[in-house]
């Protein structure tokens, strides 16, 4: 051993010892902060692991990110108005929204929550009842009076309500109400629902023993003016004013007098719940996008509890199996691989908890699978490490074991960085574009792989350097076989 080499060897030992001490201090600090100062010690679980419901909505037609974000706010308010606790609403991908809740919502509630709730008042130009086989409006064919052109009129006549519910022609709109057999030709929007200042659900009358519910509306200045204008015009001919909610005609009363004060009420087919909900929705505003329910997942808490235990058990079992194989294969160095695996998981866990609190990140079943698969990948980088050292010993004349790192370390870190880089790359692109349940899988896989690279540099490398620079091994190369090198 030349003097210069010896000096280098001692400085390297000192260096890695310092690195290990810093890592130890960091871990102590992290865990004392995590256990003592943090109230939450558990990651948030997805509905598949704690029970509850998750609904994926997809937007229909053209939309933009801004509209979806506004829609998410409104959806949150609507879900909260049901008194549902522990709910999260978030965007997935570019055009999907997920609602997660630990309570169960009925199908009726769901369709109420996800409806756009666009309320408009439109003048009725013409209405025909297919059951009675005659026009509703006493004033025959108002359409011509209002300047409906021939094309539009033809569209109206030709529209078959059994096949198609609605048709938009410029500003005019044709709507079918199949429950009573009406086909409406409606004019442009006269009063807008967003001009409603306040609304209230109330009982409007009795139909036998059942209560008839309605919603009374109070408009703002612009709404009041619009309502006055349209009722003024319609009352001259006793025309009808259609109240349209989400392109469905709720009711179309005859207008006999001008409404000046901006107060009106709507009724027709409401029960207590739907009237109250409409009144709430009008105050939160309508959704700027149309949603369709794509998937609905309902999981009971007992099943999910079992699944959590089982997946944790599978994870533990994989760790044990890898440990056994690692120790058989790499003897003492195998113990280091287990140690580093455990340290990686210990480092990842508090970060997951912080993430789940700060960005609402939830752990799902596929998420756990991602971590378990990543355990295999972490063990892999250790194998790359060890096999390269073995290879170095077998192909090159290494006078003393501690010199091996001068030869192979660069190649090891380069290979692992590229290889892990490829894994992270695919996991990240999956995470960015995935819209289904598997987002958690991709995220955890990428995340744990990143942790693996860090741990490899600051824990695995120093530990292995300490072993191979120890006096015992360097004085007796025969000991190497206990470290998995042969």
């Amino acid at each position: 051993m030349s003097k210069e080499q010896l000096k280098k060897h001692i400085t390297k030992r000192q260096f890695v010892t310092r690195v290990l001490i810093i890592v130890c201090i960091f871990f102590c600090l992290l865990y004392s902060w995590f256990l003592l100062l943090n109230k939450d010690h558990y990651v948030k679980l997805g509905t598949d692991l704690k029970g509850g419901m998750s609904i994926t909505l997809s937007t229909q037609g053209k939309t933009n990110a801004d509209a979806i974000n506004r829609a998410i706010d409104i959806l949150k308010q609507r879900v909260n108005s049901f008194g549902v606790s522990d709910t999260s609403v978030y965007k997935v991908g570019t055009r999907n929204v997920v609602i997660e809740t630990s309570n169960n919502l009925s199908e009726e509630d769901l369709s109420a929550i996800t409806r756009s709730a666009v309320l408009n008042f439109r003048p009725v130009y013409y209405a025909y009842n297919s059951i009675q086989g005659k026009p509703l409006d006493v004033h025959n064919n108002q359409a011509k009076v209002y300047g409906v052109n021939d094309n539009e009129w033809e569209d109206y006549v030709n529209l078959d309500c059994t096949k198609q519910d609605e048709k938009h022609d410029n500003k005019n709109i044709i709507l079918c109400d199949n429950s009573v057999g009406n086909k409406y030709l409606l004019g442009d929007i006269a009063v807008r629902g967003k001009d409603v200042k306040s609304s209230k659900a109330n009982i409007t009358g009795m139909n036998g023993a059942t209560e008839q519910w309605g919603v009374s509306l109070n408009f703002n200045l612009r709404g009041t003016r619009d309502l006055r204008n349209v009722t003024d015009k319609l009352s001259q001919t006793s025309g009808m004013l259609a109240i349209v909610l989400d392109n469905k005609v709720i009711s179309a009363p005859y207008v006999n007098k001008t409404i000046n004060d901006g107060n009106t009420s709507i009724s027709g087919g409401f029960n207590k719940k739907s009237a109250q909900f409409l009144s709430n929705t009008l105050q939160y505003g309508s959704l700027p996008v149309h949603f369709k329910i794509e998937t609905l997942n309902k999981v009971s808490p007992t099943l999910s509890g079992n699944q959590l235990h089982h997946i944790l058990l599978v994870g533990l079992l994989s760790l044990v199996c890898i440990a056994i194989y690692g120790i058989i294969k790499y003897k003492i160095c195998g113990i280091i691989s287990i140690l580093t695996l455990c340290i990686s998981i210990l480092l990842a866990y508090p970060i997951f908890v912080i993430l789940s609190r700060s960005i609402d990140y939830t752990f799902t079943l596929p998420g756990f699978a991602g971590v378990i698969v990543a355990i295999g990948i972490m063990a892999d980088s250790f194998v790359v490490f060890m096999e390269r050292i073995k290879d170095g010993f077998s192909t090159m004349e290494v006078p003393k074991p501690y010199l091996i790192f001068d030869i192979v370390w660069k190649s090891i870190i380069r290979t692992i960085l590229i290889a892990d880089g490829a894994s992270i790359l695919i996991a990240l692109s999956l995470y960015i574009f995935e819209v289904g349940d598997l987002k958690g899988f991709a995220f955890n896989l990428a995340f744990v792989t990143i942790i693996d690279i860090i741990i490899l540099c600051v824990v695995t490398y120093p530990l292995i350097v300490l072993i191979f620079t120890s006096k015992r091994i360097n004085n007796n190369k025969g000991l190497l076989k206990y470290y998995g090198i042969n």
Partner: protein, 280 residues
């Protein structure tokens, strides 16, 4: 260990080409066994005996029953008439532990996004690879990737396993993994090239494979341990379909990825590299 991989390259090409042809043929001839996510429908998990009895007495024809361990899952297609679905829902009211309903186009939305992810991944990868290795290594790595994917999906398809969004995610993950193996072998070849300028490309590739083969097999074993455990546990425990489909596709993909990274991609690089010399 010293085995001449270059010498057997034509055998390797014949095997992988015939596998490719078989897989492509079966993909084009046989109908895909698509999961409910691509058809749309309803799924009830852990249905009780009482619920099953009720269904058996009302309508057996519109449903599929799947047994998972001790549990029974009921799958109903989207095109079931509404009145029959209502009867079914009445039967199963509170007789199950988890329920899933899926729109008909949902699976395709996921598929579309996965393909987008794949495309972006391949583009970034090309840049990454050309930067680190050389163009021909990049080309052979990508050809191998495609080859792996087609063969894994083909095997999946021939065995009539169900193709679901989880399966697709599994395959995409395997791409990263099979690349991991290829990268390590190419890295080794590159190192040998720079260590010894006089070494012929043939010896260099052979040495590279021989020196990495131990590692390739060991990493595959390490990676497969948790995946086999996941798959085995999903046979006995009802984790829902996702875990089973994910682990099965990972299992098949990793084995194929390991084989092709040892036998195919380095020799493909050799062949392509020869072509380079001719063209210059």
């Amino acid at each position: 260990m010293n085995y001449d991989f270059i010498a057997i390259r034509y055998k390797v090409y014949i095997v992988s080409l015939s596998l490719l042809v078989i897989c492509l043929l079966s993909l084009s001839l046989l109908k895909l066994n698509l999961a409910i996510d691509f058809r749309g429908g309803y799924m009830f998990d852990n249905v009780t005996h009482q619920g099953l009895k009720c269904i058996n007495s009302s309508n057996k024809h519109d449903i599929d029953k799947v047994h998972l361990g001790n549990d029974t899952r009921i799958v109903v297609n989207n095109n079931i008439p509404k009145n029959k679905l209502d009867i079914l829902k009445q039967c199963l009211d509170n007789q199950y532990t988890s329920f899933k309903s899926i729109g008909a186009k949902w699976g395709y939305e996921i598929l579309y996004n996965s393909i987008l992810a794949l495309a972006i991944f391949l583009i970034v990868l090309c840049v990454f690879f050309v930067f680190i290795f050389d163009f021909f290594m990049c080309l052979s790595a990508i050809i191998t990737l495609m080859h792996d994917m087609i063969i894994s999906i083909g095997i999946y398809h021939i065995c009539r396993f169900i193709i679901s969004p989880a399966t697709i995610t599994g395959f995409l993950t395997v791409l990263g993994y099979s690349l991991y193996d290829t990268v390590i072998i190419f890295g080794r070849i590159k190192e040998l090239q720079s260590e010894n300028k006089d070494i012929s490309i043939k010896n260099c590739i052979n040495d590279g494979i021989n020196k990495s083969i131990n590692r390739s097999i060991n990493t595959a074993i390490f990676a497969l341990i948790p995946i086999i455990l996941l798959f085995a546990s999903s046979m006995f425990i009802n984790f829902g379909t996702v875990i089973q489909e994910l682990s099965l596709s990972l299992l098949i993909g990793i084995i194929i990825g390991m084989l092709s990274s040892i036998f195919l991609s380095p020799v493909l690089y050799y062949t392509l590299n020869k072509y380079k010399k001719v063209s210059i």
